[in-house]
């Protein structure tokens, strides 16, 4: 990767960080409703992962999707507007935080039912296989999703049909409020892939370079027709499961300890130590990102609400 | 020896009848009492029974022939006896065979007023049970639901009940001084579309009078010309009667429930006992006061109306009166009325309540002395203890022959009627 690519990745990470922090504030002001699941602490996973994809590779994820949306190329404006439910949102204000998408950027959502998008991922991969495309479907999900039936059916089918899916588990150690060891039969998620004969790896998810490297390797594997692969990224979310989570299930010092390993900080250290970028340059990018998000908030707040008629549109595709 | 069957006299003033249909054919066996033929009089189509048993040897008239009363129509005897001579009718009694009515006045009991209303079943909250469709149809035709009888489950008024009420509507209330009936049914109907200015010329339509209509016309003309009418009106407090009726009807099955009119018939019967002068007719220079109290009830039939008669109405229980009226009315509507059904009325009643008529005045049915015209029982504002409250009221007007009676007596009769209508338990003891 050259310098500009690195800076671009760094920019994406801080953009996500600022976006999420602003979203949290807006939520507390009552301007964002419903559920809000923040990606703070996990930025290295999606940024590193998606940086490794080719344009024809599809990305689909669960509801902690704002960061993924940015990494796939959606603008902060349309993400923020969607959070505020405005007509200029990427889903016209009808999906909200959990339902961002843009098929033209090969981003297939943002899904709210735990594990339900895994079967969809097998379908996306099936579509590519059927049509002779060499795209890989990158399906991200959390540790909690690995216990639901959908996960098992999807893993099984992806192997039986040899589908081009890269399964990516973001193991942030808690399924909502339940620690992995209280919910999962096996301590390491990747072990579940063994049960399906799917090759797998467990990677440190706080280090973007490690994420990217693992992703590049896995994507090639899958793309070459060897069938599905599982990458388990060990990561941590600094905020609660979603806004309003009292976090009774973990201790404050555990959070603080992980915050010392902030992925943005780790990447900064990498970039500066390898002389790829100066701290000053990185700070500028930081400031720029902050400004971008400020503008995105303004954009979103000044955007119009959806017209009342929009209530009834898109229920069905209008048949010709 | 073969017996000759003649055209029977089916009404005291019947002059001729038309032989509509032979029920038995020549050569068929017949018992005394079996129906031999259907005969149409001015009043109705009536089944005529054979007075002899044996074989029908000869049918002497063709179907559709008008035959004077007393003329031979058939011969019944043993299958093989010789029929020498066929009796010929008396020359004097020969009349035209065509439709125009005989010179004498028509049947005694034809009345111009329409069918006696049978009030509908109400729910415990007082709402009439009727389907939405029936409600709408009734409203469109200006019919008051409360006075229709329902044939649906639970006494619900349904479409067919409104339809039969509509078809039973008379086209004109000839005797009434209220507006022509043509206007009333259209009360709730939509406005007719405006005719276009260049409309084609509209033809007059000539509709022949039925025998029944002619008879009614003759009789009513006679009545108005010759009987000096006077009228007394009275408003009745119907609250207790409505309540009692509701109570009683809880014990009665559908199809046998009492109508308001049933009560009125009995009440009139009892009141007439106290005022025999009104249960009478003029007879030369005397008043003939009838021994029996036979109350007539006007029923609408196709082409006109008939009065069916409840004999001894003063003595019969309400249930019996009700059942008799129901079955006679059904026969009348079907054109199968029996002579007894329409003969012998001593006092007549007519009820237009089902058309939401507030009050009207009837023409006396000759030769009777009086006729009672009844409006609808309705909830209206009334004054009670200095306050205006809702109350049930019904208006009635009696028309009386002034040669027989006078205002005071008629008024007192109406008061006597009130004691029965307003304290209806008196009807039961």
């Amino acid at each position: 990767m050259d310098k500009s690519e690195h800076l671009d990745l760094y920019h994406q990470m801080v953009l996500i960080r600022h976006l999420e922090e602003n979203a949290a504030e807006l939520y507390q002001q009552g301007k964002i409703g419903g559920f809000l699941h923040l990606y703070i602490g996990q930025e290295a996973v999606s940024t590193g992962l998606i940086s490794a994809r080719k344009p024809q590779d599809r990305v689909i994820t669960a509801y902690r999707d704002h960061g993924v949306a940015i990494n796939c190329g959606l603008s902060a404006n349309e993400v923020m507007a969607e959070l505020l439910g405005k007509a200029t949102g990427c889903s016209k204000g009808k999906g909200g935080s959990m339902h961002m998408a843009d098929p033209e950027k090969n981003f297939w959502g943002g899904h709210a039912i735990v594990g339900a998008h895994l079967p969809l991922a097998t379908g996306l991969a099936l579509g590519d296989m059927y049509q002779g495309n060499d795209g890989v479907t990158i399906c991200m999900f959390g540790d909690g999703a690995t216990n639901i039936g959908f996960f098992h059916e999807a893993f099984n089918l992806s192997k039986v049909w040899n589908l081009p899916v890269l399964w990516v588990c973001e193991n942030n150690q808690y399924g909502m409020g339940t620690a992995v060891n209280r919910a999962s039969a096996v301590p390491e998620i990747r072990q579940k892939a063994d049960g399906y004969g799917i090759p797998n790896e467990r990677i440190d998810g706080m280090d973007i370079m490690k994420v990217r490297e693992a992703a590049l390797g896995a994507l090639e594997q899958v793309r070459s027709g060897k069938g599905p692969y599982l990458l388990e990224f060990l990561t941590y979310r600094y905020r609660g499961h979603s806004m309003g989570d009292p976090e009774r299930y973990r201790q404050k010092d555990e959070v603080l300890k992980w915050e010392e390993e902030d992925p943005i900080g780790i990447y900064r250290k990498y970039l500066t130590s390898k002389k790829i970028a100066s701290a000053k340059a990185l700070n500028e990018i930081d400031t720029q990102a902050e400004e971008e998000i400020k503008q995105a908030v303004e954009f979103a707040e000044s955007s119009p609400e959806p017209a009342p008629e929009e209530l009834f549109t898109d229920v069905y595709v209008e048949e010709v | 020896m073969a017996e000759t069957i003649t055209m029977p006299k089916l009404g005291f003033d019947m002059a001729e009848g038309t032989l509509v249909r032979w029920v038995k054919k020549e050569g068929e066996e017949i018992q005394k009492g079996d129906v031999l033929a259907e005969i149409e009089t001015d009043k109705a189509t009536v089944e005529v029974e054979s007075s002899a048993s044996g074989t029908v040897r000869k049918l002497l008239v063709d179907e559709g022939t008008a035959v004077p009363v007393g003329d031979p129509i058939a011969m019944v005897g043993s299958p093989d006896e010789k029929i020498e001579s066929i009796p010929t009718p008396e020359p004097e009694s020969k009349t035209e065979k065509t439709a125009p009515a005989p010179a004498e006045s028509g049947p005694a009991t034809a009345k111009p007023e329409p069918v006696t209303a049978e009030p509908a079943v109400t729910t415990p909250t007082g709402r009439v049970k009727a389907s939405p469709l029936a409600r709408r149809m009734a409203e469109e035709k200006g019919l008051a639901l409360a006075n229709l009888q329902g044939s649906g489950p639970g006494g619900r008024i349904v479409k067919r009940d409104v339809e039969s009420a509509i078809s039973a509507q008379p086209t004109a209330v000839s005797s009434a001084t209220t507006a022509p009936a043509q206007a009333a049914p259209q009360a709730g109907a939509a406005l007719a579309p405006l005719p276009s200015i260049n409309a084609e010329p509209r033809q007059d339509q000539r509709v022949n009078l039925t025998k029944l209509r002619q008879a009614i016309g003759r009789r009513m003309t006679e009545s108005k010309q010759q009987f000096p009418h006077f009228y007394v009106a009275h408003e009745y407090k119907m609250g207790q009667l409505m309540a009692l009726r509701k109570q009683v009807n809880q014990y009665l099955p559908d199809g046998e429930k009492l109508s308001v009119n049933d009560f009125i018939v009995k009440a009139a019967g009892l009141a007439l006992r106290q005022y025999p002068n009104l249960n009478a007719r003029l007879d030369g220079e005397a008043v003939l006061r009838f021994g029996a109290v036979n109350v007539g009830v006007a029923v609408t039939v196709p082409g006109g109306l008939l009065t069916v008669v409840v004999r001894d109405a003063d003595q019969k229980p309400l249930r019996q009166i009700s059942l008799e009226i129901k079955s006679m009315a059904a026969r009348a509507r079907d054109g199968k009325v029996k002579p007894d059904d329409v003969e012998g009325s001593t006092f007549s009643t007519s009820n237009l309540g089902m058309y939401d008529v507030e009050n009207f005045i009837a023409i006396i049915s000759p030769p009777e002395a009086a006729i009672l015209a009844l409006g609808s029982a309705r909830e209206v504002p009334v004054v009670q203890d200095g306050e205006v409250v809702p109350g049930w009221r019904m208006k009635a007007t009696i028309s009386v022959d002034h040669r027989v009676s006078d205002g005071a007596e008629a008024a007192q009769f109406m008061q006597a009627l009130a004691t029965y209508l307003e304290e209806p338990l008196r009807l039961m003891v």
Binding site: K92, I113, L120, N156, V317, E319 | P132, G152
Partner: protein
């Protein structure tokens, strides 16, 4: 016109559409090598091959889910559920994903898929294999729910469903595959969302669909002997619902009977009756009666099962009841 069975009609529809459009494929349990548990896809595997006739594991969620995903990429999959009773384990994907993805994402995704499911009872398969839960699916905006009662309708509607860009749940009846009917030759489609008068009449309106149509037609023959002419309106599509022929018929007859194989409570008849009351109240001459399955899980025993299911005499007596 040719007289064929319901099975043949459905089979032909799928075959012809697969021939016509390479994007159409079918997947489900035993659809391939076995030929389909109701023999609907018999011969398909050999002709179209394993890519287009895909045997799946027993995984309804992923049978439907992957069909949704494939549809999102522009394909036209037919996902077969061996029986609609198995739809419950794919419930999320039917009502949360298929029904809603187009709406939730502001129109970004089209889901041109068909989910074929086989429902109905009467073959002693006991309670969990004999249900008619159609209303549950018809409840969800975003889903199209079709259930034909004749081979002609089945073929034409299935073709329309496959060609539709909307997700369609196509419900067949396990005991109707043998039913015969006249079907037009050549390619034809029948529009989704149109009810049809299958038998004209003047005395009462019977509203029904799927198996109920067969029963109602027999009941109408019985009633005709008594001089009662029943008009039968076949819904054919449960969502979107076409009430026009129903209301037109009802305004003529003023009395109606609903016939369905599902349970009465919260059923199709409840919905239709409600709409009739709302939109034709002043034409109502009697309360509307509903003929449906008795409120019990369907038993195994043959006699008991037949007692529980709606039968022709039930329809006849319901009609006579509303005509009182």
């Amino acid at each position: 016109m040719t007289r064929i069975t319901m099975r043949e009609a459905i089979s032909q529809a799928i075959w012809e559409e697969m021939e016509r459009d390479p994007k159409v494929f079918i997947q489900g349990e035993e659809v391939g090598v076995w030929g389909g548990t109701y023999a609907v896809t018999k011969g398909f595997y050999d002709h179209f091959g394993p890519e287009r006739v895909r045997d799946t594991p027993i995984s309804e969620a992923v049978i439907v889910g992957s069909a949704i995903g494939a549809a999102m990429t522009g394909l036209r999959p037919i996902a077969e559920l061996m029986t609609i009773n198995f739809a419950f384990v794919a419930m999320d994907h039917i009502v949360n994903e298929a029904a809603k993805l187009h709406y939730m994402f502001g129109g970004h995704f089209k889901l041109p898929l068909v989910i074929r499911a086989v429902g109905g009872g009467g073959r002693q398969l006991a309670a969990t294999h004999s249900q008619t839960p159609d209303v549950i699916f018809a409840h969800f905006p975003g889903l199209t729910v079709v259930s034909p009662g004749t081979p002609e309708d089945a073929k034409g509607l299935l073709k329309s469903a496959i060609r539709s860009d909307n997700p369609v749940l196509f419900i067949e009846h396990a005991a109707m595959y043998q039913s015969r009917g006249e079907v037009p030759d050549g390619d034809y489609t029948i529009p989704i969302g149109k009810s049809k008068i299958q038998r004209p009449g003047r005395d009462v309106t019977i509203v029904t669909y799927c198996k109920g149509l067969e029963l109602s037609l027999k009941a109408a023959e019985e009633l005709a002997k008594d001089g009662i002419e029943a008009e039968i309106v076949d819904l054919r599509t449960l969502r979107p619902l076409d009430m026009e022929p129903v209301l037109e018929s009802f305004k003529k007859t003023n009395r109606a009977v609903m016939v369905e194989e599902g349970w009465k409570s919260y059923g199709v008849g409840a919905e239709i009756s409600s709409r009739i009351y709302e939109e034709a109240f002043d034409y109502l001459d009697a309360p509307i009666k509903r003929v449906a399955q008795k409120e019990v899980p369907l038993p195994y025993n043959r006699t008991l099962e037949q007692m529980a299911l709606p039968q022709v005499p039930d329809i006849v007596s319901a009609v006579k009841e509303v005509l009182k």
